[in-house]
Point group: C2
Amino acid sequence: MKLSQRGEYAIQALLVLGMYHGPEVIRIKDIAKRQNIPRRFLEQILNDLKSGGFVQSRRGVAGGYRLERTPEEISLSEIIRHIEGPLESSHSLSLGDKKHNLHSDEAAKCAINFVMQDVRSAIVEVLEAVTLSDLCRRVREIQGPMENPPDYII
Amino acid sequence: MKLSQRGEYAIQALLVLGMYHGPEVIRIKDIAKRQNIPRRFLEQILNDLKSGGFVQSRRGVAGGYRLERTPEEISLSEIIRHIEGPLESSHSLSLGDKKHNLHSDEAAKCAINFVMQDVRSAIVEVLEAVTLSDLCRRVREIQGPMENPPDYII
DNA sequence: ACAATACTTGACTAAATTGGTCGAGATTCT
DNA sequence: AGAATCTCGACCAATTTAGTCAAGTATTGT
């Protein structure tokens, strides 16, 4: 299980929006700067997150993004599922059809898929339990101890 | 978590060797045929599995492959780790170094990595518990019920 | 001895994925 | 009107993945 760069950026962006969650909107530019993400790439990602119902956007000169739901309502599993594709898919060889004789390679693939399904369940179980809010807390704990001021958005 | 084709083939090949485990050796050609794996590709994979200590080979006219260890001694985690690369790696941002101020993107990446480490642990926990022997049993259960004879290797 | 069989090695290639860029347009604030 | 900002879709380069190929080397049956 490795997160793609795209996936990591998406979570980082949502983290910023989560940390400053409120009625106001944050500009792409600022998110990109804070998290050190290529601006154009981030545009794509935020657009994707918008179509997934994670964020809202405002256009125009005072435009930007904000979360569509509260950080407590967004789980990591949802984010990753949306950005990296379905987490539980496995096209698992119907197997209900008994008329159809299984070749030995099909039997093998099927057995392997059973295990991989267990793996996927374990992954989902972990990710389901972590909300964006949890992650925000984590970030605060990490950068809290050191007293460098929040380095406000320019 | 998705298995690469290469990884799936590797497990399928080991499954064949596991099902017919004994002192005798099985030819690449037969494994390829039974599991419907491109022969040349399978050669590469078996070679890799050999250098990983999973299988032995015998050259010459009566050559082929067999397991180097018993199916009970081989866990899925080992196989996947060897074929797909380290399962637990995460170069997790030392964080011990307090002198070094964390930028907000580093803090975010760090928080994300903590969660991903949990995910990886969960994956390993599942894979660690499944041996090649377990998988072989699974395969027998799947193809057992239907009474098509084992379709012996030609 | 020697032909047949089979593994060994490393280079090669085509297709898919990933990470990222670009330009033109649409929208909103002042 | 004009500047700032999001929007949309096409585009591109590097990497990875899946797979092929050829020229070896080792072993064994006869």
